[in-house]
Symmetry: C2
Subunit: 213 residues, 2 copies
């Protein structure tokens, strides 16, 4: 990844879409793909794709042929860090925490979920999809011993701030927050929010609008 | 919901956050909450909250006291449609489809997942968390018989367009798309996209930026 380039959120969100599409193709090592082919397949503007790809490619494309697919996949994986193992834990083993522990697709995007943490003693030492649930009291030791970089927050609103603070104390500086709460983070922290209820309310509103047309 | 008001996406995303927070409080039927209390608890600007709440409230707030909490919860539930049962099916029972079938939190936001659909015969009639998996060939009949309004798309990129077209043929006009694919939708369709891989790439990029500071 370039040291100086700042990528927009929308741009960053396109790269995994390119990668996912390319990996879904049947291709041999000498196959090429052009940005106009990508544009047709994915619906993004050709110029947008050209700019995105140029920023992360290790080689120039060939006139008319475009980019070597295998090479482009490697470049995208390198850029996205999906080859790296990013160790993560899930904090809060309720409905959503359980669902995410059962979701094996995280591995494909470079997210390595190691374990779950909860405050309910009834869950301790339980195995969910190969991941053990531990007490939040053990978080700090576990994070240090296992080089955990990312906490996925799936606790109820009321305890979100508390567990984020505990994770910070344990040395975690990256949060994927699924709790519906505006949390105060320290400045040296990376955060992304995903809120299922919020996404659904946008959909419901759109449904109602369409019905009125 | 007002017939004329158009709400911004960010605004729509705040309403479930208010609702979730209010429901997490211990309150009796005569308890009130002010927008400044909400502002302090949730981190949104007081004026923003005032405007949001005024748009959906059936009663004016009282000076200093604010809104009756029970009343406000009812107004929010009515606005968000979380009291309504919005029937949905999950299309594609891979890792993510399974995870979402196992996620019981959808009920709380008014999303009633009835069943899963897949093209793999090995999955047919399997029960996941009380929901049965059916063949995609049975989709149309099922949608009509069960008044399904929403399809949650969790198929691989390569088949996303095809299943969305099939859902449309079956009468579905609302899609929550988790597949990392830009899909072409008809004009009378409501859509919201949630892409786990894209969210994660935004987080990874932020992590790398913070490390360089």
């Amino acid at each position: 990844m370039s040291n100086t380039t700042r990528y927009s959120k929308n741009q960053l969100k396109r790269y995994p879409i390119y990668l996912n599409y390319l990996k879904s193709l049947n291709f041999s090592k000498d196959d090429y793909i052009s940005t106009s082919q990508l544009s047709e397949a994915l619906g993004f503007n050709n110029e947008v794709i050209k700019k995105d790809i140029a920023l992360i490619s290790s080689e120039k494309g060939l006139p008319k042929k475009g980019r070597n697919i295998s090479r482009l996949i490697l470049d995208l994986e390198k850029f996205l860090g999906t080859n790296a193992k990013n160790n993560a834990v899930i904090i809060g083993v309720g409905h959503l925490g359980r669902a995410l522990l059962n979701f094996d697709g995280f591995k494909e995007i470079g997210l390595n979920i190691l374990a779950g943490f909860d405050k309910d003693p009834q869950l301790y030492e339980i195995d969910i999809n190969g991941k053990i649930i531990y007490s939040l009291n053990d978080l700090k030791n576990y994070v240090i011993a296992n080089k955990v970089e990312i906490a996925i927050i799936t606790v109820p609103t009321s305890s979100a701030q508390k567990v984020v603070d505990e994770c910070y104390d344990a040395g975690i500086r990256a949060f994927w927050n699924f709790a519906p709460k505006t949390i105060n983070y320290k400045e040296d922290v990376a955060v992304v929010n995903t809120n299922m209820a919020s996404s659904f309310s946008v959909l419901l509103h759109e449904i109602n609008l369409k019905k009125k047309i």
